[in-house]
Every structure is written in structure tokens, then in C-alpha cells.
């Protein structure tokens, strides 16, 4: 046991004396969560639009006021001719143009209908779509206000309710993903790098010739990273709750246990990588290509799995991160307990055992 403590102490010296690994360990998680929380967002806020008003009457003014009063849009420019639309888009600032037809009020009153053309910059299709939807919603609202006096015979009123994330904050979607990435990065990449470093420097050989058993060496290398990963998980959860007001509906203990499980899964992956890779460089490449990319692309973190082609949906099942993201979302947003996530938990456990078994086998072959 005393040997073991000495070993772990040495591991911490390595970590704290290497600025690069310190940055990855503590800088990255905070930077990532803040980036995803503040900068990268799917929400529409203060989008610059332009108005081309051919009527300039009471109704158009009301509509324009309504739109610019919302927090979603800022009227940046008033255009005077059709030809200006193109120029406005090309300058890049304006994302949408509202084009009111001539005699808007008169048409509205006399023919009971008037037209507004909504032109959006679809170089970013998602944003264009959202802008159109938001403007539509504002126009609907305007219509309803106008129609209040009139008795309509039939009317269907859809009442949409967004549960678990009523304000549709995208940060709620990113936090579980970022937490997954960070835990994966710290646990899998850092351990595989630190084990291969010993191989590269020749110290691994010295350790194997010492009375320490191989599994003691591996555990000694892994324990500090469990500790650091737990700290990271705590920091991320605190940031998301206190800065981004993310709810924690479910049990904190369950969240902690599931996080530790995922940390162990990632560590097992890290050990497996270190049995394959001979150099720190290749360990890093395998971790980045083999772990980070699938986590970002196929785990459902950014792109919904249900809209992927079937082969990719099948592949996504072998990515541990997918299951962990389901678990965190379940616990934090939906407040579910073990009864709803036991399947995902079992899958993660199974994967962990598989990775450990495979590493042990690989390790033995190498020693022969």
C-alpha cells in the first residue's frame, strides 16, 4: 500500500509539472463549457433584419413595431428598392428581409388578405428556418389580435408545450455532451498518453522489472485520473447549474455513480489504447480519431441519432458516450431514476468489462 501511495504521488508530480496536461485537464473543461454555453447556440437572438416597405401605412407599421419589439430581431436597415435586397444580403449582416406589398392596409381590409414576402439568407439553413418560423409566429399573433373582434366559427388552437426544457435552451443539450467529451478526454486520452510515455521513455521496463506487479503499475497510473475526472465532473455540473441554470431534477448520488461508471469505462478504453499504441503521438491520434470524433458526431451530442441513416444509427450503439448522454439527460432534465436507465447502465458496464478483458489479453501477449 505504501508503495502504491508513492506511485500515485509520482503520478501527480508528472501531471502538475506538465503545463500542457494541466491545461487539458483544467483549462479545457471550463473553456468548453463556457463556449458551448454562451457562444455556440442554436437559439435565435437579436438577428439583424431589413425592411422593404412598399406601403408605409398603419398596418405595416404595426407589424414592424411588433417584430422589432421582440428580442429575436433587430431592424437594422430600411430598404427602398428591390435591388437593395441583394446588396443587403451580400454584406452579410442582414439575415432576413421583410418585403411588404403595395397597399398592405387597403388589401387587408378590402380583400381580407395581404402579402408579406419573407426572404432569408439560407447559407445557414437551420438559422434561416428558425427565422422564418419565428416571424411566422409573430405574424400569427398579430392576426389573432386583429381578429379578436370577429367571431370565427371554427378554430383549432394548438397548444405546444416543450417539456423538460421549456425555454428550449440549447445549453441544456450541450452540457451532457460536453461533460461526456471532457470525461472521455481526461480519462481515456490522458491515461493512454501517460502510460505510453512510460513505454517511450523506457521507465515502463524498469517498473516491470521491479517487484510491482503489472496490474499495480496500471492501477497506479489510472487512479490519479479517476480523481481528476471526478473533480472535472463536479466543476461541469456546478457550472451548468449555477451559471446556465440547468436543472438537476434527479438524484445527485445517481448522477455521481453513473459518472464514475463512465469514467471507468473511459479509463478502460485508455488502457486498451495504451496496449496498442507504442508512442505518445499515436496514443493521442488514436484517442482523438477513435474517441473524440465518434463522440462528437455519432453520440447524439450535436446531431440527433434518430435522423441519421440506419447504418450510422447501428454504429452509434457501440459508442459508450451515446449511452452516457442518455443517462445524464435522463437524470438532470427528466429526473428519472434507476428504473428508467438500468438498460443503459448495464450496457456501459458490459462495455467496460469487455475493454478491460481485451486489455488484459493484449497486455499478456506483449509480455510473452
Amino acid at each position: 500500500m505504501k508503495r502504491f501511495i508513492g506511485f500515485i504521488k509520482k503520478e501527480f508530480y508528472h501531471i502538475f509539472r506538465d503545463r500542457r496536461s494541466l491545461f487539458i485537464l483544467f483549462g479545457m473543461p471550463i473553456a468548453q463549457i463556457l463556449l458551448f454555453g454562451f457562444a455556440i447556440t442554436n437559439e435565435i437572438n437579436n438577428v439583424d433584419i431589413a425592411i422593404l416597405d412598399h406601403s408605409k401605412d398603419a398596418s405595416t407599421e404595426e407589424v414592424i413595431n411588433k417584430i422589432s419589439a421582440s428580442k429575436y430581431f433587430t431592424v437594422k436597415q430600411i430598404l427602398t428598392r428591390e435591388a437593395d435586397i441583394e446588396t443587403a444580403f451580400k454584406k452579410g449582416k442582414i439575415k432576413a428581409v421583410l418585403n411588404f406589398e403595395k397597399h398592405f392596409s387597403r388589401n387587408l381590409i378590402k380583400q381580407n388578405q395581404a402579402t408579406i414576402q419573407i426572404i432569408t439568407d439560407a447559407t445557414d439553413p437551420n438559422t434561416a428556418n428558425s427565422i422564418t418560423n419565428y416571424i411566422n409566429a409573430i405574424l400569427q399573433n398579430y392576426q389573432q389580435e386583429k381578429n379578436r373582434a370577429i367571431v370565427v366559427e371554427y378554430q383549432i388552437i394548438p397548444q405546444a408545450r416543450m417539456v423538460y426544457n421549456p425555454e428550449l435552451k440549447s445549453v441544456f443539450m450541450f452540457v451532457p455532451g460536453v461533460m461526456t467529451i471532457i470525461l472521455m478526454l481526461v480519462s481515456a486520452m490522458m491515461t493512454s498518453i501517460s502510460i505510453t510515455r512510460e513505454k517511450e521513455l523506457g521507465t515502463m521496463e524498469i517498473l516491470l522489472v521491479s517487484p510491482l506487479k503489472p496490474f499495480q503499475v496500471i492501477i497506479g497510473k489510472v487512479v490519479p485520473y479517476i480523481f481528476l475526472s471526478v473533480i472535472n465532473a463536479v466543476v461541469i455540473v456546478l457550472l451548468s447549474i449555477f451559471i446556465f441554470k440547468m436543472p438537476l431534477q434527479g438524484s445527485l448520488i445517481l448522477l455521481a455513480l453513473e459518472s464514475v461508471l463512465f469514467i471507468i469505462t473511459s479509463l478502460a478504453l485508455g488502457i486498451l489504447i495504451s496496449t496498442i499504441a507504442e508512442t505518445q503521438q499515436s496514443a493521442m491520434m488514436i484517442s482523438l480519431m477513435g474517441l473524440m470524433l465518434p463522440v462528437i458526431l455519432l453520440s447524439g451530442f450535436i446531431f440527433p441519432i434518430s435522423s441519421m441513416p440506419v447504418p450510422l444509427q447501428i454504429i452509434s450503439n457501440i459508442i459508450p458516450a451515446k449511452w452516457f448522454i442518455i443517462i445524464i439527460k435522463g437524470i438532470m432534465l427528466k429526473g428519472v431514476g434507476m428504473a428508467f436507465i438500468w438498460k443503459e447502465t448495464l450496457i456501459l458496464m458490459g462495455m467496460t468489462l469487455f475493454f478491460i478483458g481485451l486489455s488484459v489479453k493484449k497486455y499478456k501477449i506483449r509480455l510473452e
Partner: protein, 258 residues
């Protein structure tokens, strides 16, 4: 096993697939002896040594190290030997003191013993002023001397040195050998592989491996007489010049450094 033999090797063989890296070698090493283990790159020295220090299982043959069997008691062997590899193997990002403490710790020395050894070692090597400096900032020669001292921390019966003086200047090599003599005088058996034939002259006995077999084994003096030459260098050249009809060079290189 005879009283004074600390290493006994009998018909030891290691094969990788159909390639025989170490081919039925047999020898004994006596207590307190400086035993030189010579051979060209790829001759099988490192593979043979790895079997003796318990990190590679022999394919056939017998061997005991410090009285323990290499098949069944590698853990006991590990407690009784020291090892210094050809790659420099202390931690660059730990200080001199931390390195000594760490390696003392993994050999299970008590805290008091470690402290005692650490102070003794630092004063012997004259490292008092830089004992809190990172090892990475020391010149290579000092690192190697320190590395050797660290491999002796737990008073092993035998210390295995795998090309310990690669890349250091002649003066440091000379000092290094003085340390080896001192350790041998205190009863530690030294098992050393080397490329430098002048170093072979310093050994009590040397064996020369060629393509997996031990082709010569005796005191440097007798070997020179046997081959009728003036230096170990010529002995080595005479033996190693035998062309290899069986294997392409590349394959042998690989198996030696694995």
C-alpha cells in the same frame, strides 16, 4: 546449485515463431563477479537478459537467478536484482531526491531507510547542490551515474546493466566503471552488456554471443590467447565476422529490440 553461483543458465532458448533469438545458451556467473555479456546488435543479448530478469518467458531450457527459478519465481527474482536499461530511465520531470524516493518506495524500502540511502547516495555522487533540481536538467553522464546508484538502492544481489555507457564521454565511462568495481567489491554481482570492447577488458569474464549462441566464454586474457590477438576488439571481430547464412539482417535487428 553451487554456493558461489548466483546465475546458472542451462540450454536456455527463446524462439519467436520459427526464429531462434537465443539458442541453447549455458553459463554460470559467480557471486561478486563482473560478467560481460557481449555481442553485436541483434545477437540476442537483450532477449537473453530479459529472460533472466523475469520479464520474458524462456521457450525451453533452465535458468536460476539469485537461487530462484525464472519460470516459477520471477517475483522473487525481481526483489533480488537491480536493472538499468540502455534507455536512460529515471523520470526527467522529478527531482534527484524525488526519483530516489520513488524508486526506493517501489522496492518497498522503509521511509527511514530511503532517507538514509538518499543522503548517502547524494553525498557520494556529490549532488548536494542540485538534489532539488529536475533530473532532466542534469548532463547525461550524471544521469547515468545516478541511474546506476538508484538500481543499487535496495542492495540487490545482482545488478543487470544493459549497455549502460551508451553515448557518454570516456571520462564519465571511466568513472562509471569505478562505480561498478566498487559495487562488485561490496559483493554485488554485475551482469553487463556492452558494445565497447575496451570495457570488455574490465570484466572478470566475458561471453560473446553470435546469432543467438555463445561462441566464446572466458577471462579476457584467456580469450585473447585463444584467438591469438592483442585486444578484445580483435577477438570480437574474429567471432562476429562469421557471415550469417541463415537469416537476413533486418529480422534479427527486430527481435533484439522488442
Amino acid at each position: 546449485m553451487k554456493e558461489e553461483n548466483v546465475i546458472e543458465v542451462n540450454q536456455l532458448t527463446k524462439t519467436f515463431g520459427d526464429f531462434t533469438a537465443v539458442n541453447t545458451i549455458s553459463f554460470e556467473v559467480k557471486k561478486g563477479e563482473i560478467f560481460g555479456f557481449l555481442g553485436a546488435n541483434g545477437a540476442g543479448k537483450t532477449t537473453a537478459m530479459k529472460m533472466l530478469i523475469g520479464i520474458s518467458k524462456p521457450s525451453s531450457g533452465e535458468a536460476t537467478v539469485a537461487g530462484f527459478d525464472v519460470y516459477s519465481q520471477p517475483e522473487s527474482i525481481k526483489k533480488n536484482i537491480g536493472y538499468m536499461s540502455q534507455k536512460f530511465a529515471l523520470y526527467d520531470d522529478l527531482t534527484v531526491k524525488e526519483n530516489i524516493t520513488f524508486f526506493g518506495g517501489i522496492y518497498g524500502l522503509s521511509r527511514k531507510k530511503i532517507k538514509e540511502k538518499r543522503e548517502q547516495l547524494i553525498s557520494e555522487l556529490g549532488l548536494e547542490n542540485i538534489s532539488n533540481k529536475l533530473v532532466g536538467s542534469l548532463p547525461l553522464g550524471w544521469k547515468q551515474k545516478l541511474s546506476f546508484s538508484v538500481s543499487l538502492l535496495h542492495d540487490p544481489k545482482i545488478v543487470f546493466l544493459d549497455e549502460p555507457t551508451g553515448g557518454v564521454d570516456p571520462i564519465t565511462r571511466r568513472q562509471f566503471w569505478e562505480m561498478i568495481y566498487k559495487a562488485a567489491d561490496q559483493g554485488t554481482t554485475i551482469f553487463v552488456t556492452t558494445h565497447y570492447m575496451d570495457e570488455a577488458e574490465y570484466c572478470d569474464r566475458v561471453s560473446i554471443m553470435v546469432e543467438g549462441k555463445i561462441e566464446a566464454l572466458d577471462t579476457p586474457k584467456k580469450l585473447k590467447e585463444q584467438f591469438k590477438v592483442d585486444s578484445m576488439n580483435d577477438v570480437f571481430l574474429k567471432l562476429a565476422r562469421i557471415p550469417s547464412p541463415t537469416l537476413p539482417k533486418g529480422k534479427r535487428e527486430n527481435t533484439d529490440c522488442n
